[in-house]
Each structure stands twice: as structure tokens, then as C-alpha cells.
């Protein structure tokens, strides 16, 4: 509790701009914030530092800096498999993003603009998909994909990723589309604009922020998804980063430095994406409130 009745030092002596009341509570809070920051940061820092050490140095001197910085760990990690996982993740993630954007925005457009009993049913149908989660569908999906002859192809991941991202995407986009003023399209219709033209020329350009949010959320999901990537893909050459890293761990055994280098490499694209688009991620998450 702060005292408010007793005049503080600041009120008696004219304070300089920087001088602030410095209480024990504040000091302790500051210490706790700092300690917490170290707990969060240190393992990440350790990962980067140790990725340039030899196995012996990691094992025998866990804290120390490397005696020689072995940058080759990175090229080794890249050539021993990370490059392939990277390409696979990149392909799966990009196709998923593009498809989710197109398919999801088309559905959201109709669900935001029309009002009939059928549209209501379609709305419940699409958004109700949020109740489902990948774990529950895992075994039937495995059978369905086997029957479609898609098991052990990238399409097994792409199609399921799209399907599981659609409900939230449609929910977010529709909410945003509803806020687009009706006058715009009315004047466009008078000018002879088609339905498709309204979607492409008015709705999409006006919704760039929410489309970016969708891109971030979808990229994050597809890049990091682990369960489907583990179960639906067997072949080493098709694995994406999350399941590929597990193989990498088993193949390398004691080559820790290389493994850690691979882990750092795997993290870089998402860190870059989030640094640029963090704002959109937070917005999407506070609106859609879904954990990645």
C-alpha cells in the first residue's frame, strides 16, 4: 500500500525530473521481473551458444563459451537433413496459407452478405468445426487418407491443415467483413459491378489487416504442427520440420552441436515472421482467442 497522506520526499524537496520515490516493493518487483526474464532468455541464449560447440564442450562445460566457435555445425545441420525439412515445411505452409485465404474468404464473404435460412445453417456448419480437434479425428483421418491414397504425401497435411484452419478463419474474416459499409457495394452494383467483382475489388482490398492476421495464424499452425506431420508422413524425404527434428535427434545421437544448430535454423523463419507481423498475431488471438 502506498502512503498518500504523508507528504513524500518528492513533495518536500523539489524533485529533479528523474528522481522517483524508490520503495522496497518496487525494488523487489524489479528483481522478480529481471529473474523471470533470465529464466526465459537463458535457455534460448544457451541454445544459440551451444550450437557452436563440440559435444565434449557441451557435456563437460555446460555454461562456458566455446573455445572455438564451430560455425560448421550450421552447414552440417543444413546438409544432413534440415534443408529438406525446410523445403517441405515451406511448401506445405505456403500452399496451406494460400488455400485457407482463398477458400476461407470466399465462404466468409457469402456468410457476411447474405441472410437466409440456408446461410444460417452453413454458418453453424462452418464455425461449428471449431469444436473438433485433430486428436479426435486422427484415426478416421488416417483411414480416409489411406483410402484416398494420400497417406505419405504432402497433400495429407495440406488438406487436413486447411480443413482445421477454416472454422476460425471464417469466424475472423466474417466478423471483419460485416463491418464493411454497405454503401460501397451499393454504388458498385449501380456501376455494374458483379458479385465476384465486389468480393475481389471491395472486400479483399479493404480487409488486409485481418488477412494478415489469418496468414500469421495459419503459418504458425502449419509450420509447427506435430501430430499429423508425425502420423501421416512416413518417408524421411517428405517430413516437415517438427517431425523431421525428431528423426534428426535420433540420427545424430551425440552430435549435439549440430542438433542445436538445426533447432536454431528451424526457429528462424517464424521468429522473422512474428517480428514483422506481431501486431496482427496479437489482434487475431485476442479476437479469435485461440492458442497456437
Amino acid at each position: 500500500m502506498e502512503q498518500v497522506i504523508k507528504p513524500s520526499v518528492e513533495q518536500v524537496i523539489k524533485p529533479s525530473r528523474k528522481l522517483r520515490k524508490f520503495s522496497i516493493g518496487q525494488f523487489v518487483t524489479m528483481l522478480m521481473l529481471a529473474a523471470f526474464a533470465i529464466v526465459i532468455l537463458y535457455p534460448l541464449l544457451w541454445m544459440v551458444i551451444s550450437s557452436m560447440k563440440s559435444y565434449n564442450e557441451i557435456f563437460n562445460d555446460v555454461w562456458g563459451l566455446p573455445s572455438t566457435w564451430i560455425v560448421e555445425n550450421y552447414s552440417l545441420a543444413w546438409s544432413k537433413g534440415i534443408s529438406g525439412y525446410f523445403m517441405n515445411s515451406f511448401f506445405v505452409t505456403s500452399v496451406t496459407i494460400i488455400a485457407v485465404l482463398i477458400i476461407g474468404s470466399m465462404a466468409a464473404f457469402v456468410l457476411a452478405r447474405y441472410k437466409t435460412r440456408w446461410i444460417d445453417i452453413a454458418l453453424i456448419f462452418t464455425i461449428g468445426g471449431m469444436m473438433m480437434n485433430p486428436q479426435v479425428a486422427l484415426i478416421p483421418l488416417f483411414n480416409i487418407l489411406t483410402n484416398l491414397d494420400l497417406i505419405n504425401t504432402h497433400w495429407a497435411l495440406i488438406l487436413t491443415y486447411i480443413a482445421y484452419r477454416l472454422p476460425l478463419t471464417i469466424l475472423l474474416l466474417r466478423g471483419y467483413f460485416l463491418s464493411i459499409p454497405k454503401e460501397l457495394e451499393e454504388s458498385a452494383i449501380i456501376d455494374g459491378c458483379t458479385e465476384f467483382g465486389i468480393y475481389r475489388r471491395i472486400y479483399l482490398p479493404m480487409s488486409v489487416p485481418i488477412l494478415l492476421t489469418t496468414i500469421v495464424l495459419t503459418a504458425f499452425f502449419a509450420w509447427n504442427e506435430f501430430l499429423f506431420a508425425t502420423v501421416f508422413i512416413d518417408s524421411e524425404t517428405l517430413k516437415t520440420i517438427p517431425s523431421g527434428l525428431m528423426n534428426f535427434r535420433d540420427a545424430l545421437r551425440t552430435d549435439w552441436g549440430v542438433l542445436l544448430a538445426g533447432m536454431v535454423l528451424a526457429s528462424l523463419p517464424m521468429i522473422a515472421l512474428l517480428i514483422f507481423l506481431q501486431k496482427y498475431l496479437v489482434q487475431g488471438l485476442s479476437e479469435g482467442s485461440v492458442k497456437g
Partner: protein, 294 residues
């Protein structure tokens, strides 16, 4: 709404979404219920009807109660830390006193969120390593050697080690969501409280908590749902072991189906996971106010 001529656009525009959701979301769900009455294996197309056999097995399965209890532990600890502590943390970071360090700390706390859980789990393999692990080395450093532990190899500590990693991974993220919510609180409320001479703790409970009520509720909901579905963390870090000590429902389901090849019973376990989360998801859909814009 005026009646339009029937036009093909709505049908065409909705078709891809409906088709994908039908094939990959809804049919699997129905199929999963159907499967739970059968006994079958991954690669055989023949299914043997066993009636309620799988459900009877459920009651006799000791691993289910261990797994469920672990999911509950996950949920309780996560709610305390990711809703309780994260809210306090957000409140502190939004305080004027810390406005200089807050931007930096926000970025630091958010960092783990950017990193894939598979990388985080591999990293924590090094943190918990009994010989050279960061945690044991640190305990040695500060003279608490008797606290050293085979974190992931001890049935007593395995699940808590996994849960601790999840907290490390997610707390910054929830903190950020709370910061967003706190920033929306009208400043006048705090100014009025200042005039009344309310202290920081008083302001936290009388203004902040009621004002971010909705965010608290939603975050609690997501955190519980996430705890019921958790798979990657225990699977990568301990594979549910030692024994079944750190098994959760989804790991149990995966191992029953894809390791022991007992697909029928695994489908039954999947139903339990579905029931645990469907209700929570329903509340969440009801809450997400479609059609509002910020």
C-alpha cells in the same frame, strides 16, 4: 433484406469450405463414434463388431485414470500460472513505474511463443538432462546439490517437469493478451481511484480484475482446453514415461492406436477427449461475438 434472384455465387463460394469440412472434420468425427464399436487394426480393412466391449475396457483401464489425472494437473497448474501470474505480470508491466523496461520485457517474455514446441521440447531435454542439464548444473552452482534430480526419469517428477516446460513456453503469450485487455481499460477509472487514495493492490482488485473479466474467462477456457488436448510436450519429452507416469489422454490414445495397433479402443479414448473439449469449445463459440470490429 430484399429477395434476390437465385444466384449461383453463394453456392460456389461456400462449396469448397463445406466439402473440406465435411470430408476432413465431420465425417471423421462420425466415423470415430462408429469405430468405437469395433475391433480393427491399422492395415486391415476388416472390422470386428464388439459392441460395448471397448467401453467396458475403458472402465478397467488403469492408464486412463492416470492420464486423466495428469490432464487435470496440467489444467490446474496452467490456469494458476497462465491466468493468475500472467495477469499480475501484465498489470505490473503496464504500470507507469516500469514504463521504461516494459517494452523490452514484453519482447523477452514473448520470445518462447515464437519457437515451435518441438524445438522447445528438444531444448528442455538439455535443461532436464541428469548429467549435464542446465537445471541440475544450476542447482549445483547455488549449492543445492541435494535437490538434483533425474527430472524426466523419475515417475514422481516427470509430469511436473513437462508441465513446467509448457508454462515456460506459454506464460508470455497469455501475458501479452492480458496487456492488450488492460490497455483497453479507460484511464479515468484509475485516476478516480488515485484521488480516492487507493493503493496499487487495491486498484488491481477493484479495477483491473473486473475490467478484464472477459479476458480472464476466455484465457481460462483456452488454457483448460489446451490442457485436455496436450500431446506434443509429453510425447516428445518423455513419451508418457517412465511407465505411464507422464501419460496424458492424447498420448495414451496415440500409443493405443498407432503403437499397439488397437484402433477400436483408441477410438473410444478419442471420444473421451472429444467430450472433454467439445463443451468448452461450444462456450467459446458462444462467447466470440461475431460481427464486432475493433
Amino acid at each position: 433484406m430484399q429477395r434476390r434472384k437465385f444466384n449461383i455465387i453463394p453456392v460456389l463460394f461456400l462449396l469448397p469450405s463445406i466439402a473440406l469440412l465435411l470430408v476432413f472434420v465431420y465425417i471423421p468425427l462420425i466415423q470415430n463414434f462408429y469405430n468405437s464399436f469395433f475391433d480393427f487394426s491399422v492395415f486391415s480393412q476388416t472390422k470386428t463388431f464388439v459392441g460395448l466391449e471397448n467401453f467396458k475396457n475403458l472402465l478397467a483401464d488403469k492408464v486412463v485414470s492416470v492420464a486423466l489425472l495428469n490432464n487435470v494437473k496440467y489444467a490446474i497448474i496452467s490456469v494458476i500460472l497462465q491466468v493468475g501470474i500472467a495477469l499480475v505480470l501484465a498489470y505490473i508491466l503496464e504500470d507507469k513505474l516500469f514504463h521504461r523496461v516494459a517494452p523490452f520485457l514484453r519482447v523477452v517474455y514473448f520470445m518462447p511463443v515464437m519457437i515451435s514446441i518441438s524445438v522447445v521440447a528438444l531444448l528442455f531435454g538439455f535443461v532436464y538432462n541428469p548429467q549435464m542439464g542446465l537445471l541440475n548444473s544450476f542447482l549445483e552452482l547455488i549449492g543445492l546439490e541435494n535437490l538434483k534430480e533425474v527430472w524426466l526419469g523419475n515417475p514422481e517428477t516427470a509430469i511436473y517437469s513437462v508441465i513446467a516446460m509448457s508454462q515456460w513456453h506459454s506464460i508470455g503469450f497469455v501475458t501479452l493478451l492480458f496487456i492488450v485487455a488492460i490497455q483497453k481499460i479507460p484511464k479515468e477509472l484509475y485516476e478516480a481511484a488515485d484521488i480516492d487514495g487507493a493503493g496499487k493492490i487495491r486498484k488491481f482488485f477493484s479495477i483491473t480484475v473486473p475490467q478484464v473479466r472477459e479476458a480472464i474467462f476466455v484465457n481460462t477456457l483456452i488454457t483448460i482446453t489446451g490442457s485436455m488436448l496436450v500431446f506434443n510436450e509429453p510425447y516428445i519429452l518423455t513419451n508418457g514415461g517412465p511407465g505411464f507416469s507422464s501419460t496424458v489422454m492424447s498420448v495414451h490414445m496415440y500409443q493405443t492406436g498407432f503403437v499397439k495397433d488397437n484402433m477400436g479402443y483408441a477410438s473410444t479414448l478419442a471420444i473421451i477427449i472429444f467430450l472433454l473439449t467439445a463443451v468448452l469449445a461450444l462456450i467459446q463459440i458462444k462467447l466470440s461475438r461475431t460481427g464486432k470490429d475493433d
